[in-house]
Each structure stands twice: as structure tokens, then as C-alpha cells.
């Protein structure tokens, strides 16, 4: 890991230690500075994911935060990715913030908040169109997939996100 990535991740970890994570987000494991796993649940009564918990895995490269981390929902015996029109059954996520809308001012917790709000705004549990076909041919690293973010949902998430982050980062 390069100096910038290491320092930055240490700071984020210290921040989580000092201030904690937002409600519904728990750091499950951060044994090293390469891979962190967060548990995410959606709060409130109105959500369709009530009582469900999902595990979000982030892999940080040595150019973090310039480069976006590799983010997927875990799909194993213990955790299943949420049923969501932007989440494939292998855990890959189609969200602009994990692609061309990534900004180095964001951080790991910000990604969790985005995912949480993406789930919270969903009304119908379904898999993305062409899920089976994508999952069959998908590379293991979702960053190698060329995503199309033509959905207005991802846009509104991003707009919201900057408002959330302004509060969060302060």
C-alpha cells in the first residue's frame, strides 16, 4: 500500500473508532488495510428490507482514495445480497458512485451510507434485468464490468449523498 492509501485508511479507521458509524452501519471486520466488511441494515418501519442485514465488502487498492475501492455485497452461506434492481445475485452493484461518479473526497462510510439509502429508497424487491446472464459471465472484480448508469435513481442518490456527506464530514 502506498503512503497515501495507508494513511487515509488509518484515519478513517480512527474516525470510526472515535465517532462510531452511523446508525444501521457496523464495521464487521477490518483486519488489514486491504479489505473491510461492513454490515448494513435499513432503519425504519417503511422499508421492504426490515429485519434484514447485508454484508458489504470493500477492497482498497493502493491508489485509494484516488481510485474507487472494489465494493460488493457478500454472497455466501451467511449473507445474501439484497434483492434490489441494482444489485446482482453475485453481489455486484450498479451504482454510479462506485464508477464514474466516485470522488476521492468520499470514504468507506460514505459508500455504506449510499448503499443504505439506495436500499431505503427501493419499493420493490427484484433482481436487475439480465441478472442471470450477467452473473454467468461477470468478472470477479465488478470494476472490470462496464456499467451503464442511465437510471435516475443513482442520480438522485448522488445528489442526496452530497447533502448527507456535508453533515457527516463535519
Amino acid at each position: 500500500m502506498s503512503g497515501l492509501a495507508t494513511k487515509r485508511l488509518m484515519k478513517e479507521l480512527a474516525d470510526i473508532q472515535g465517532k462510531g458509524t452511523p446508525e444501521g452501519i457496523v464495521l464487521l471486520s477490518a483486519d488489514d488495510l486491504q479489505e473491510w466488511i461492513f454490515l448494513i441494515s435499513v432503519l425504519g418501519e417503511e422499508t421492504i428490507y426490515k429485519g434484514e442485514t447485508f454484508a458489504l465488502r470493500m477492497k482498497f487498492g493502493n491508489r485509494y482514495p484516488i481510485d474507487v475501492p472494489e465494493v460488493t455485497f457478500l454472497a455466501n452461506d451467511q449473507y445474501q445480497p439484497p434483492l434490489h434492481p441494482h444489485v446482482y445475485s453475485n453481489g455486484h452493484i450498479c451504482a454510479s458512485i462506485l464508477g464514474n461518479e466516485w470522488s476521492p473526497v468520499l470514504n468507506a462510510v460514505a459508500i455504506c451510507i449510499t448503499m443504505q439509502s439506495m436500499l431505503a429508497s427501493n419499493k420493490k424487491k427484484s433482481r436487475p434485468e439480465g441478472n442471470d446472464r450477467y452473473v454467468r459471465s461477470a468478472p470477479s472484480n465488478p470494476k472490470l464490468t462496464r456499467w451503464h448508469y442511465d437510471d435516475d435513481v443513482s442520480f438522485s442518490i448522488r445528489l442526496n449523498l452530497f447533502n448527507i456527506l456535508r453533515v457527516l464530514l463535519n
Partner: protein, 376 residues
């Protein structure tokens, strides 16, 4: 997980945040942080939208995406401008932080002033501590400490050669030490003008530029000549021109072009085009951002940083590979790998069987053409 005793954080040397009952100080503290690296600005620059970042941070970011990381406005490297006021603010805040941190402690903790307390093992606070002691040390040599201290306070104003004073020429009156007098640095013992010692320590004791004494008046003419002819004393001694490097067009640049750039700055020219591009890119960020700060590193320090970056990238690349090879090298590891990947194997097996079956059906039916488009 239990965050109270995270092993990774044990080795961290971070200045502690201000207590939560001082939100104003926390805000002030944050305001001198670059939003990309979350560290105090190093060579801050602003871009067209008005947001500021460390020069190297924003240069790296703009290499990837031509937008402001904070507000998403389109941005380009051409709009980068040095933000000298912000640099001064950052430096001043860094200098005052330990003192103000000490003030912000609850009364009981106040007995131990923060700058000297062991709870702040940061390198920056260490230099600050040394700096304080250096002031005290050199101050005790002076017979007029008040005067000395005042002149020391003015050290932020750039020292210029023509700051003459009477006491300097009069060698009999050595008691009156003024800022233009020289004294040994308390750390490295190099002889320097007193006024420049704090800055010298701040920079980690670089060897002083050799300058002969008592030639100032005589050389003034020559100095002015230099100014008018456009050459500076530093420009002459430096091996390369300290001018921003223009980015080559990586699409059309040949490996020879890239090697020429690298050779100009005495950098390694080995590797294929991809490696050369990475090295040139990294160097341009390091070199150009080094021109945006009042505390520039030496070229050799930049070269060392470049080789560090390359080494860490290589380690990262090989780390996963080594682990995998080590795991598959022994029996337990092999079994564990097989167990971990079992569901994946099963899935592939099932898919291949299904596919074969489909193909067979197609051949038999000869009508199922529309199913032929299949992603493999």
C-alpha cells in the same frame, strides 16, 4: 467489531482531536485539511471552482477524472493555482495547534502542557518541541533576550540579504546577537543565521547553503547583476530546471520519448511502455506539486519517494500471488482452497452440463436458432 483496541490503530501517530466541547476548534482544525488525503494541506492549490486541495492530491485526482472532487464542477490542471494564503494559514495553524491543544484541555490535564506530553508522538509535534527548545537554547546565549525574541517572531517574513544591521560588522560587540548573526543549530551543529534556525529545524536540518561571511556589501553589485540578467543563484547550482513538466501525450509517446523525460531527471529508464508511463505520470505529479509549496523537497528526496511508490505497488501486486502460491503449496491449504471454491466449481459444472444439454437439444431440434446467442 470491537473498535476500542484495534491492532491497526496501535501504530498510528496522529495528533489527538480537540475535545468535543470545543466544536469551533474541531472545525478550525478540519478547515486546514485537504479533503482528499484528510491531512493538513501540503502545497495547497485551488482550482477553477474555488475548492483547494494538496497539489499532489488534486493532480492525481485530475489524472483520473477531470472534475472537482468536492463539487463535481469540471476542472482541469490548467486551472491549478498556488494558494499561498492557505499555505501560510496551514503552517501557522500547525505551529499553534499544540499550544491551543494545551489550552483546550480540562484543568486537571493542564499540568502537562500538550506540546511536551508523551501522548502526542507525531513527527510534527516532535519538531515543534525541538523548535521550542532551540529557541530557548539560542535565546540563553543572547544578552538581550527580548530583542532576540522579537526578531525571531519576524522569521516568517522572508529573510532578505539586504537586512543589514550595525552589530554585524562590528566584531568587537559580539554580545549583541541579532538575527543576522550566525549560531550553531542545536540539532545538527551546522552554523546558520539565527533567524533561519527555526525554519532550518522545521525542514529537518538540511545542510545549509555555503555562504561566505562578510561579502554581502561587496557582492551587492554582482547580486543585482544576477537579478537583471535573469539568473538566480539557485538556478545555477541546480542540475535540472525547476519548471513544471508538460505532460506528454501518452497515446502517441514512444518508449524512447518517455525514457528521455526520465533520463532528464536521472530516473530509471527500465521497463516496458506501461511501466514507463506509470513512472512518468507519478514523477510529474511529484515534481509539479513540489513546485507548489514553500517547503519543497530535494530532487533526491522526490526520487526516493518515486522508488518507494513503485516498490509498494510491486509488493501489492505480488502479495496476493505469494499467498495463493503458499496456500496451494501444502495439502491443508489445497483442501481448504477446494472447500472454499466448491460452490463455484459446482456452479461451473452445472452450467457446462446445462449448456451441453442445450446444444444437444438444439442440434436435435434444429429449430432453436434464437437460443444460440448465449454469453459464455
Amino acid at each position: 467489531m470491537d473498535m476500542s483496541s484495534h491492532p491497526l490503530l496501535a501504530s498510528m501517530d496522529e495528533p489527538p482531536p480537540f475535545p468535543s466541547n470545543y466544536p469551533q476548534l474541531r472545525r478550525l482544525d478540519r478547515s486546514v485539511y485537504c479533503q482528499i488525503c484528510k491531512e493538513p494541506f501540503q502545497g495547497p492549490v485551488s482550482i477553477a471552482c474555488g475548492h483547494s486541495f494538496c497539489s499532489s492530491c488534486i493532480r492525481s485526482s485530475l489524472d483520473v477524472l477531470k472534475k472537482c472532487p468536492s463539487c463535481n464542477e469540471p476542472a482541469s490542471e490548467g486551472s491549478i493555482r498556488r494558494n499561498r494564503a492557505l499555505e501560510e494559514i496551514t503552517d501557522a495553524w500547525e505551529e499553534s495547534r499544540p499550544i491551543i491543544y494545551g489550552f483546550a484541555q480540562p484543568p486537571i490535564a493542564k499540568k502537562r502542557p500538550a506540546p511536551d506530553s508523551g501522548s502526542k508522538p507525531t513527527s510534527s509535534s516532535n519538531t515543534k518541541k525541538l523548535k521550542t527548545s532551540s529557541r530557548e537554547a539560542s535565546g540563553s546565549r543572547s544578552q538581550s533576550p527580548t530583542k532576540f525574541r522579537i526578531s525571531n517572531e519576524e522569521q516568517d517574513v522572508d529573510q532578505t540579504e539586504d537586512l543589514q544591521d550595525e552589530g554585524n560588522d562590528d566584531l568587537d560587540d559580539v554580545q549583541e546577537l541579532t538575527e543576522n548573526d550566525e549560531a550553531p543549530c542545536p540539532i545538527c551543529q551546522a552554523t546558520l543565521p539565527i533567524s533561519s534556525i527555526p525554519m532550518h529545524i522545521e525542514k529537518g536540518c538540511p545542510p545549509p547553503k555555503t555562504r561566505t561571511n562578510g561579502i554581502r556589501k561587496g557582492n551587492q553589485k554582482a547580486d543585482w547583476k544576477k537579478v537583471f540578467s535573469g539568473q538566480t543563484s539557485s538556478g545555477k547550482t541546480k542540475e535540472v530546471e525547476l519548471k513544471r513538466i508538460t505532460k506528454p501525450n501518452y497515446m502517441i509517446a514512444t518508449p524512447a520519448d518517455l525514457r528521455a523525460i526520465l533520463a532528464e531527471y536521472s530516473l530509471p529508464t527500465t521497463g516496458d511502455k506501461e511501466i514507463l508511463i506509470k513512472r512518468v505520470q507519478e514523477w510529474i505529479i511529484l515534481f509539479n506539486s513540489n513546485l507548489d509549496t514553500s517547503h519543497p523537497s530535494s530532487l533526491s528526496a522526490l526520487r526516493a519517494r518515486l522508488s518507494d511508490v513503485e516498490a509498494s505497488k510491486r509488493r501489492d501486486k505480488e502479495k496476493g500471488k505469494d499467498d495463493m502460491v503458499a496456500q496451494l503449496g501444502n495439502r491443508d491449504g489445497l483442501q481448504k482452497y477446494a472447500k472454499d471454491k466448491k460452490s463455484e466449481f459446482e456452479r461451473l459444472k452445472r452450467e457446462i452440463m446445462e449448456r451441453d444439454k442445450r446444444r444437444k437439444d438444439e442440434e436435435e431440434g434444429k429449430g432453436g436458432r434464437e437460443n444460440a446467442i448465449e454469453v459464455e
